[in-house]
């Protein structure tokens, strides 16, 4: 019964989204607003209905049968709803409606025509996605006869980090829909000004913040759970989340120029469209099966075609609208080369170049294969050779930009503080005695960011300082994990001691242990007063062998111990032990945390200041 109510609410949501689109694009702002709020209520009812089926283990619903199990812990029943294609699309639509209601209610949108048109566009997007869900991936489909229990008890996916990582990412991806709708609305109205920047900023801030948190959570999970010691693999789907983030970061900065100088109108609109286009492209890549990736969902060709149609309708429409309306948005304002606005333009160009480079790398195998030229895959070496090089001037500029004054060329009054920072950086480099360009620019960025603190503190100032400083700190962590890691592979006999980096370890032997559903060989390795227990596990039911690394996290570094094969040539109880020390990993997570905190401050700031 509850499932039928939810299903009906979902069908009604399609109708209401249609009303929202019609009201917004013709002339009924009232209908558009009310529809937006009704749409949110209906989609929440639908979502809660599906949650109910999962929580009560209602196995007459096909989706529950395929993705849940009566013995799962409650938390993972709840999160199981978005662990599959159909349920995650429903969550997508709830978030889409949430941002629709946000446009309807936001006090920051002063121009009522803009609000109305944006609601119309948002309604169209909602119609498209609800139709996609209803016709190709209906989460409420029943199954008869009902099986006794569900099929899914995948232990890898039962993880709290993994339960929260997708909703955060969706909040970011879908959040850009509201930015997109406002940009399209502004193109229809034909007015892009300071008021538009103020209206769109809270939406950009919340989407960007959610995306930052989502990406950081995914990286952390990969680092601690997958046991390969990496946190970013340049997997196509990881890139798909990085692309809207880069476009969103560029947008945040171009909005500063639009707000302060009323310039960069067309560019800002274009970035707003691109940010959502990248989100949609990511969705298409994950769910259509054109790229193979560890993140891919089950594949159905009809779904791919449908999402592509949505992508073409949204982005084709918006870029077409842009081509038509762009001449109205001309701003002929020349910036002096040494000014805040010029540095922000440079920042935008560099960020978009990075995004284009990542996009090229992600799609290059597809292009080559389509043209019948070669079957290749693009991996980390390409990105390291290209992205890192473009990032260096960007990071240096991040330190310089905030020193420069708006508008007037000034008297170079910023020269003094900047030179002081440069001197401090040089001193710090002498002090740490690591001769690395990466460290120099990271320290430069941190010092220069701290120098931006202005009394009395404002939220805006603090979010700039924390955001830039956090990135500098994260870069230290990135260099630590990438360039400074110490790897040690050796054969040890019980009682052997060995040193890796600053850690001294003693191998005490291996014994057999048994878990609830696995058997394992477990080593005991003493590190100070601590005992590390890396395991090689064997799961008979799923026929798989896993390696459980032992990890210890310290402020200065992480130590990672993996048990390898037995080696009888070297002794009766000799084993191969692989130890890796990753310096500064804590700086990486702490830096990401500061960047997210900067996002929170920016959000509060853009919300408070009408």
């Amino acid at each position: 019964m509850i499932t039928e109510v939810a299903h009906f609410a979902f069908i009604m949501a399609f109708v209401v989204a249609g009303m929202m689109a019609a009201g917004g694009l013709w002339r009924s702002p009232d209908i558009a607003k009310r529809s937006a709020i009704t749409l949110l209520a209906l989609t929440i009812i639908a979502f809660l209905g599906l949650e109910w089926a999962y929580i009560t283990s209602d196995f007459t619903v096909l989706n529950t049968v395929l993705n849940s199990h009566s013995q799962k812990p409650l938390l993972y029943k709840i999160s199981g709803v978005w662990g599959n294609h159909e349920g995650s699309m429903l969550l997508w639509i709830v978030i889409l409606s949430l941002f629709g209601a946000g446009i309807a209610l936001s006090p920051h949108i002063r121009d009522e025509t803009l609000r109305q048109r944006a609601l119309g566009v948002q309604g169209l997007i909602a119609m498209g996605f609800i139709a996609f869900s209803l016709f190709t991936s209906n989460p409420f489909a029943r199954v008869f006869p009902a099986p006794a229990d569900g099929n899914s008890l995948n232990p890898v996916l039962q993880d709290i980090g993994l339960a929260l990582h997708p909703p955060a990412l969706y909040l970011g991806y879908v959040g850009f829909s509201s930015v997109f709708s406002l940009a399209a609305g502004a193109l229809i109205v034909g007015r892009v000004d300071q008021a538009f920047a103020k209206a769109v900023k809270p939406f950009v801030a919340i989407a960007w913040l959610a995306l930052t948190i989502g990406i950081a959570m995914g990286s952390r999970w990969a680092y601690y759970e997958l046991g390969w010691g990496g946190w970013w693999y340049w997997d196509p789907v990881e890139n798909a989340s990085l692309l809207p983030w880069l476009a969103g970061t560029a947008l945040l900065h171009s909005l500063l120029v639009l707000e302060a100088r009323g310039a960069l109108k067309r560019w800002t609109i274009l970035l707003a469209i691109i940010a959502f286009a990248m989100s949609l492209l990511g969705t298409f890549l994950v769910r259509s099966g054109v790229l193979s990736s560890i993140h891919a969902f089950a594949v159905d060709p009809l779904r791919g075609s449908f999402i592509l149609a949505l992508l073409i309708a949204c982005c084709g429409g918006a870029f077409g609208l842009y081509a038509w309306r762009a001449p109205q948005l001309k701003t002929l304002r020349l910036f002096t080369p040494v000014s805040r606005e010029s540095s922000l333009v440079a920042n935008n160009l560099l960020l978009i170049t990075i995004a284009a480079t990542v996009l090229t790398g992600t799609l290059y195998p597809l292009v080559m294969d389509t043209l019948g030229l070669a079957q290749i895959s693009v991996g980390a070496p390409y990105y390291n050779a290209t992205v890192l090089r473009i990032a260096i001037p960007l990071i240096i500029l991040m330190g310089i930009g905030p020193f420069l004054p708006w508008k007037r060329p000034g008297r170079w009054a910023f020269k003094g503080p900047m030179l002081t920072c440069l001197l401090l950086t040089a001193l710090a480099m002498l002090f740490i005695r690591v001769n690395m360009l990466g460290f120099a620019i990271a320290i430069w960025l941190m010092v220069a960011s701290l120098a931006q603190i202005k009394w009395p503190l404002t939220l805006k100032n603090l979010s700039l300082v924390l955001g830039h400083f956090g990135l500098g700190l994260a870069i230290v962590g990135m260099i630590g994990t990438m360039a400074m890691k110490i790897e040690d592979i050796r054969i040890v006999n019980p009682g052997d001691t060995f040193t890796v980096g600053r850690h001294e370890l003693r191998f005490d032997g291996v014994s057999n242990v048994f878990g609830p559903n696995y058997g394992a060989e477990e080593a005991r390795i003493t590190l100070g007063t601590d005992i590390l227990k890396p395991q090689k596990r064997w799961y008979p039911v799923s026929d798989s062998q896993t390696t459980e690394a032992a990890i210890r996290t310290y402020i200065l570094d992480d130590i990672y111990v993996v048990l390898g094969e037995r080696d009888l040539k070297s002794g009766p109880d000799a084993w191969v032990v692989r130890t890796t020390v990753h310096p500064f990993v804590a700086a990486l997570w702490f830096g990401f945390g500061l960047v997210a905190l900067a996002g929170v401050l920016m959000l509060i700031n853009s919300w408070r200041r009408r």
Binding site: L270, F284, V290, L308, C315, G316, G519, D543, Q545, L568
Partner: protein
Amino acid sequence: MRRYLPLLIFTMLALMLAYRLTMPRVTGTIDSPLIGKTLPDLGIAELPKGPFIVNFFASWCAPCTIEHPTLIQFKKDGIPIIGIAFNDTPENITAWLKKRGNPYKTVIYDAGDGPSVDMGITGVPESFVVDAERIVRKRFQGPLEDPSVIAEFEAAVKP
């Protein structure tokens, strides 16, 4: 003209993605490069005349115990198996085989630098089907336990 540029780039991208959707997808696993090639030298003079199985195992390996009954059944069905004891001592192996029964026609000792390297195994157990012409036909990583895998192996080794 410049204002049409985003639309133009997007159109090209969309066309390519649409074309990709119509193409067949790559599925399944990649076969071992050894399949279809001649079996590397195992260091023994006499190989069975007909098709046979090469099985990597060790006394310290828990999953090998799981697949052991399958191998015993293969022996009863008259399928010759060459066992390669990986990283193990003759004493341990003898004791292990005495306790559980010996399914192997021949046992070769590999200290980690013999056939295990030539055949590129990733761990124990791992099994290969070799035909009468000494060509490797099949490879399986992990214990022979799943009935469908066992059936495939039987079919391949009994022409």
